[in-house]
Symmetry: C2
Subunit: 374 residues, 2 copies
């Protein structure tokens, strides 16, 4: 049963809120410059006086700050089963912070934000790496009075950022939690990302990235999302769920004037996924975050993956989805074997593929709590 107080606020939810903070100018790793970066973030629970009970939760590519419901925003979040009163990340004990990554479009400074001339950055927005994102987030931690996160946790791109936090600032992270993510982006991930980026740039409405004020490059972004979504799922799941079935009354064998008219169910499903993303995401932000994720490599300038990971001697939690064909379980094993904490790799048993980390993550909640002493 949902408990509500006299003003209709759900009292079973933790205190929380959505905030914005300007963290100042940012000189990016590759020589770009943003004169003022604003970070959007959500919080749950209360920071203790010593600032020692903070947990950082980092979103995936198209995720946002809304990890879990709180009193000010009771919508279900993307890791709702993990964060809340009595949950693995117990908001009665932990102060949880979830920033939107710089370059995104869910409240933080990104390509759709105004540049100093008042026009959107568009094509002028600099190439961002995950290290740039961590630098901005470190300033947020400074502002909040968090010298050290008890844990930094994320899945997919969020896991990559958590790992980059741990390796670049081992003194500021006591434990790292990495779900369905790896020490560096792989050739295959780069390959699929390239097709996605090119599809967006091919859209005539993209106009080199300066499409604001006109129509969005929806078709290109939609294709990118379709490609990505297939890689987030497993062939087996698509086979069981859709097979070769036709969409409703549509007939993929029906034609007129040489054109195939009807769709298979799986096409309709991907159209729906594309349309959902296009309605909530900026194409330039998708490009910026995709290329940031491709830049992910904890070893860059640090003498190799083993040497980079050796920097972080804190607690570690690693989980993989058994059927993930984008972030391979074997890569999670490689990561775990090189982390000084030598964590076990917890397997999420899900038929979904990569998206299992957003759907069946509850399976490893208790292991997360244990491995990170939450």
């Amino acid at each position: 049963m949902t408990a509500v107080d006299v003003r209709g606020t759900r009292t079973d939810l933790p205190a929380g809120g959505f905030h914005r903070l300007c963290v100042g100018p940012l000189d990016t790793e590759t020589g770009g410059h943003l004169p003022a970066v604003e970070l959007a973030y959500e919080t749950w629970g209360t920071l203790n006086a010593e600032g020692t009970n903070a947990v950082l939760v980092l979103h995936a590519l198209t995720g946002d700050t809304h990890v879990a419901a709180h009193r000010q925003d009771p919508r279900t979040g993307w890791w709702d089963e993990l964060v809340g009163p009595g949950r693995a990340v117990d908001t009665d004990r932990w102060f949880v912070v979830a920033p939107n990554m710089v370059g995104g479009c869910s409240g933080s400074t990104g390509p759709a934000s105004p540049a100093p001339d008042g026009r959107p950055w568009g094509s002028r927005f600099p190439f961002i790496t995950l290290r740039d994102a961590v630098e901005a987030e470190a300033r947020l931690a400074d502002h909040l009075g968090i010298a050290r996160w008890h844990a930094a946790i994320g899945g997919s791109m969020g896991g990559a950022r958590a790992l980059e936090w741990a390796v670049s600032r081992p003194d500021r992270v006591a434990g790292v939690g990495v779900l369905a993510s790896t020490a560096h982006s792989s050739a295959e991930q780069i390959a699929f990302a390239q097709s996605q980026a090119q599809a967006i740039r091919l859209d005539p409405q993209f106009r080199g990235g300066d499409y604001y004020g006109g129509p969005q490059p929806e078709a290109g972004l939609g294709i990118a999302r379709r490609i990505a979504h297939i890689t987030y799922r497993s062939a087996e799941e698509l086979a069981v769920r859709f097979g070769r079935r036709h969409q409703g009354e549509e007939d993929p064998f029906g034609t007129a004037a040489g054109e195939r008219l009807g769709r298979y169910q799986v096409e309709s499903y991907l159209d729906h996924q594309a349309s959902k993303l296009v309605g909530r995401f900026d194409a330039n932000a998708y490009l910026t975050l995709t290329e940031a994720l491709m830049s992910h490599d904890v070893s860059r300038g640090r003498g190799g993956v083993a040497e980079a990971l050796r920097r972080f001697t804190g607690r570690a939690f690693v989980a993989a989805v058994e059927t993930d064909r984008l972030y391979l379980p074997a890569e999670s094993h490689e990561l775990a074997a090189l982390l000084p904490a030598r964590p076990q790799v917890h397997m999420i048993d899900s038929p979904l593929g990569h998206d299992g980390f957003l759907v069946h993550y509850g399976q490893v909640a208790e292991q997360l709590r244990q491995d990170l002493a939450l």
Copy 2:
């Protein structure tokens, strides 16, 4: 050593030739009409007087008629190790025929061919199914005096056509050879095909399919090829071959005016694959054959896969590539289990993924010879 005769013709190669035949008008399965279909085909060896030593070899999506070298065209073919004197398909004994599929662009009638009004078919070219292709090829067999193929063999889309031949005309096929192919296209294959088709159609140069006389939709076709090529390979192969290495002196972290300048090796590799295909393939033909392949389903109108496959009681050879993630070995096992011949599934041990059927097929040549009594 290469043997040549006095005119410089290689005498170690079989007799052979490239031909074209008009097989008449074609009413397509979905109600389209082509008033005259021309099929291009190559042959090797000599048909015996009884017409009983004929073998049909069918190409994959972007393949063509040039299966193997012959005296008139000594270029290496795509299954050169399989077809020739002393090879598994011994051209001293067998008369080999390889047609280009209707709808393609390697000599047979396709969207770039002139319609009755003299202009290219373009957007008016009808939706083609693999059954339409087999109907056209059956007329070619009639013309050549081949009442029954000793074997019909192919890989990927070629395997799908071979299987459709066997199921639709069991009296005309004594043995079927299916490499890296399945009884029907899967949800995942349809999904990846959709993205590819949409990328081509998004290209402003596509102009609804009527781009002849102007620039080709090279960018769109290139993206389609990149997506396809990734699915033809394995994540492991890409990781070992390219990893995160940069292309030559290019720097993926180098930027100017906000744009990432350099490429990873895997991006350059895919650019090269795209560019090679764009130079030799028509975008409309790519769309036509891709949608034809998605239509592949031996069970359509035949009461299910098991019942359809029960129609073909001849010899069968089935092979899969261990690392294939587009045509899953499990699907080859399902196919083999439902074929009355109950063939063993021969595994091609290749790190490449699907493309192993074009590279490491020599591993199963002897099994092909045995299973199909070649």
